[in-house]
Structures are given as C-alpha cells and as structure tokens.
Amino acid sequence: MTNVLAALGRRSLVSLERLGRGSLFLLRVLASVPGLLRRPGLVVRQVWSTGVLSLLIIVISGAFVGLVLGLQGYNTLVTFGAEESLGLVVAKSLLRELGPVVAALLFAGRAGTALTAEIGFMKATEQLSAMEMMAVDPLRRIVAPRFLAAIIAMPLLAAIFTAVGVLGGWFCGVGLLGVDDGSFWSQMQAKVLLVEDVVNGVVIKGFVFGVVISWIAVFEGYDAVPTSEGVSAATTRTVVHSSLAVLGLDFVLTGLMFN
C-alpha cells in the first residue's frame, strides 16, 4: 500500500517537474517571439510547412464530416418536419465544436508530430548544440518560428475545415436529399451570430488549441531524450497529450462561452 502511494507520489512529482520545466520553456519561447518581427521569412516558411501542407487532410476530413453531419442532421430533423433548419444545424455544430476540435486533433497528428520529430531529431544529431556553439540561440532560430507559425496556422485551418464542412453538409442535404436551397442558407444567415458562434468557436477555440498544441509539440521535441526511442516516445506524447488537452479544454471553453 505504502509502495503504491510512494510510486504515485513519485510519478506526480515527475509530472509536476515537467510541467514546471515546460512552463519556463514557454516563457523563454514567448520572450524570443518579438525578435521574429525582424525575420518574418523564418515564420512564413514554417506556416507553409505546418499550415499549407496540412491543408489536404483538413479539406478532405472537413468534407466528410460535413457530409455525415448533413445526413445525420437530415434524418433527425425530417422526423419533426424541420429539415429546412439543416443549414443552421450543420453550421452551428461545425462553427462551435466540430470545426475547431476535429481540425485541432488532425493538426496535432499531422503538424504537431512533425514539429516534435524534427526538433527532437535536431537535438539527437547535435544540430541544436552546434547552433548554440555558433552563438545562434536555437530557441530563437528553430523553436520560436515553429511555435508562432503553428499558432497562426491553427485558427485558419479550423476556419477552412468549417467552411468545407458546411459545403459538405449543403451538398448532402440540398444536393442529395432534396432540402430547399433557399431555406438552407437563409436559416443559417438568420441564426448564426458573428460573435457567439464564429468568434467564440472557430477564432478563440482555434487560437487556444493552436497555442496548446504547438507548445506541447515544440517542448516535447526540445525536451526529448536524444535517442531514436526518445524521439519516438516524445512524438507519441505529443499526440496523446495534445489530443487530451484539446478535448479537455474544449469542454472548459464551451462551459465558459455557452452557459
């Protein structure tokens, strides 16, 4: 019994220590972000590799999620004769929840892991160490641009995911199931609110998830044990931790925004 308690205590201490290290790391990264204003090229290149290269998976997934939403929404609504509201249902659920959350989960898997693996590999092959010896701070040169780029890319991807999803729902509802085109769009226009739905959902949630995912991803890479196993374990942790963080934070944010 005492052994179990001791093990539990030790594990919590280790996690707590890591959390502390991660927080200090975040502060140091944030401190080097302003310096990037002088070298926007570094950030742009990373927005390309984290954001633009994630577009394909985001667009395809958005389309399928929209199609399914259209189908399920129609089946439920039609029993009340309310299938005209399909546009509203699809848009609200995508804007508030599915858009930012699913996009964030995909982003963590597509871009977060790439960041962790890249930084971890650079550490394992002494590239970060070599930079330090060349008087180049790897936090500024490598970590900060990637961190910032992921934060910029995430809300944009969430928005694209949502837009494509709405189109998917429209195609399914209006194109395949015969919902009236005019009501689909007019109900959406009338009831979707800019601040309540769009800003709260896609913009704020997208931004918060972006911060959390890129923080976890760059920290795991930078803190990885510099061996192949270490980098692979760090990559796994990035996916697990950022997915859990996204889902947990989504509940908290939803509670704060829509109660």
Partner: protein
C-alpha cells in the same frame, strides 16, 4: 621578433582552474588545471569516457561546472551574461564528432549559416567567403550536396569549413580522427596543422588517437580518472615514466586504468545464479 615569439608562447587563451564537474553521482573532473596557449595546438588525450567532450562543452559554457573557473580570452565564461557569452562563442569554432551539419541545408548553406546569422554581407561577398572556406577543405565542388550525401570524412571537413566561417580565434576539435579511414585521417591532420599555421588559429583537440595527435600537437595533457595525470610535449610524454601515461601512450590493455569495469567479484557474480 624573438621577444614577440616569447610573448606569444606565454600568452594563455584558455585558463582552467580547479575545475570540478559531476554527472549524477559520478565525478567526471576532480580539480583540473589546464592552460591553452594562444596560436598553438594543444591536445587533450585520454581513454574514452574520461569526459574529454565534456571538457570542451565546459569551455564552450554549454555545461556549468560544480566548482572552478574557465576563462576564455580573460573572461570567465560561466559568469558572463548570455549576450556576452554569445560574443565569445562567435569567436570560438567547434568541430563536433558527428559533424552536426544542418541536415536540411546544402553544404553551401551550412557554411553560410553562421555568416547569415551574424553578419549582413551582400550576397556576392558571402558567396566568395563561403567558397573560400570550402576551397580550404577541398569541398568547393560539393557545395550543392546535402549532408546525407557525404561520407563521414567529408562531413567532418564540411563541418570544419563551417567552424572557420566566422574566422574564429580558436577551434575545438572533438575526436577529429575517430572513425576515419587512413586517407581522410591524413587529410584532417594536415588541415588542422595548416589552419593553425596559416591562420594562427588556436587549436584544442581532444582525442584518443595517440600517433596522429602526437604528430601535430605542440603540447599534450593526458586525462585519466577525472584528473590530469601528465602533460608535456609529445616527445616528453612518450618518454614519460608515470604508469598511467605510459599505459595510455603505449596502448597497453591493463595497468592503472583497469581492463575491467568496476563491479563486484567475478566468482561472486558467477555463483549467484546457482540453485541452492
């Protein structure tokens, strides 16, 4: 002229005093004093695992000592603010054992990297500078290759070109000869020597290759068991009577540095698993 030479001889670039360093429970250095004179090749020899690379990292202030001081060009690098430490590092090149080239850049961009980070040279001048550095290590023709396309010896030479990109006052070589075939070993020996002679760059070299090191070093420190066990010119050390120095310089399998990793008795270990 001769007085100037005398001056150079006594001018110390790196001064290490009473250096202690621990990794976990293991003592790596237990009070080391070491001087690296300006403009010469100083070698630190020792068996693998004695912390030779750690010593270079302590000089570069990537690690902090438990006790003691490291002065580079008169500045205690472990007490400098980060900005000033970076100013010192700009003037110190380091050649990593793995080369540590940036894998997503071509050789040209690798050598250009420190120049692009620290200077604002026009592109044409930068190009000439990079080509000059690559020419020195014989890789001008390979400038568009990526590090993965190079052999180990070529990667190390490319890393050397990068290390001299900012015209440093000192280069630290981490095991420059290990894992090299005889030809690239000879090339590296000649390169280190000529960089030292032609550019007057102070060279610090850690190695366990006795013959190659003795052929170019002006002065050698022998490191063993977390202490300096001997120092002197190569000739003096090869003739030394100290048992540890003799074991190492002569490559004898057993001596003061034991063949066996410390542990409990052989018999005790063998008998442990026997059924009772």
């Amino acid at each position: 002229m001769s007085t100037r030479n005398e001056e150079l001889k006594t001018d110390t670039l790196v001064r290490i005093r009473n250096l202690h360093f621990r990794r976990g429970q293991r003592t790596i250095f237990d009070g080391i004093d070491l001087d690296i004179p300006r403009g010469r090749i100083t070698a630190i020899l020792g068996p693998s695992g004695t912390g030779k690379t750690t010593l270079l990292r302590l000089i570069g202030a990537q690690l902090a000592p438990a006790q003691g001081t490291v002065e580079v060009d008169g500045k205690d690098v472990h007490r400098l603010p980060l900005r000033e430490l970076y100013e010192v590092r700009k003037r110190v090149g380091m050649l990593f054992q793995s080369g540590a080239l940036l894998t997503d850049l071509t050789l040209f961009e690798n050598v250009a990297f420190p120049l692009r980070e620290h200077t604002r040279l026009p592109e044409s001048m930068l190009r000439s500078l990079v080509l000059m550095k690559l020419e020195m290590v014989g890789l001008r023709g390979a400038r568009d290759l990526y590090p993965r396309e190079l052999s180990g010896g070529m990667a190390r030479r490319a890393a050397l070109a990068r290390a001299i990109a900012l015209d440093p006052m000192m280069i630290m070589y981490d095991e420059p000869f290990s894992g090299q075939d005889p030809i690239s070993m000879g090339v590296l020996v000649r390169l280190i020597k000529s960089l030292n002679d032609a550019l007057g760059i102070t060279s610090v070299l850690v190695s366990h290759d006795v013959a190659e090191t003795c052929s170019i070093a002006d002065y050698i420190y022998v490191l063993s068991g977390s202490k300096i066990v001997g120092h002197g010119t190569p000739q003096a050390l090869l003739a030394a009577e100290t048992p540890t120095v003799r074991q190492f310089m002569g490559g004898l399998p057993d001596g003061p540095v034991p063949f066996h990793f410390p542990g409990r008795g052989y018999l005790e270990d063998l008998l442990e698993d026997l059924p009772r």
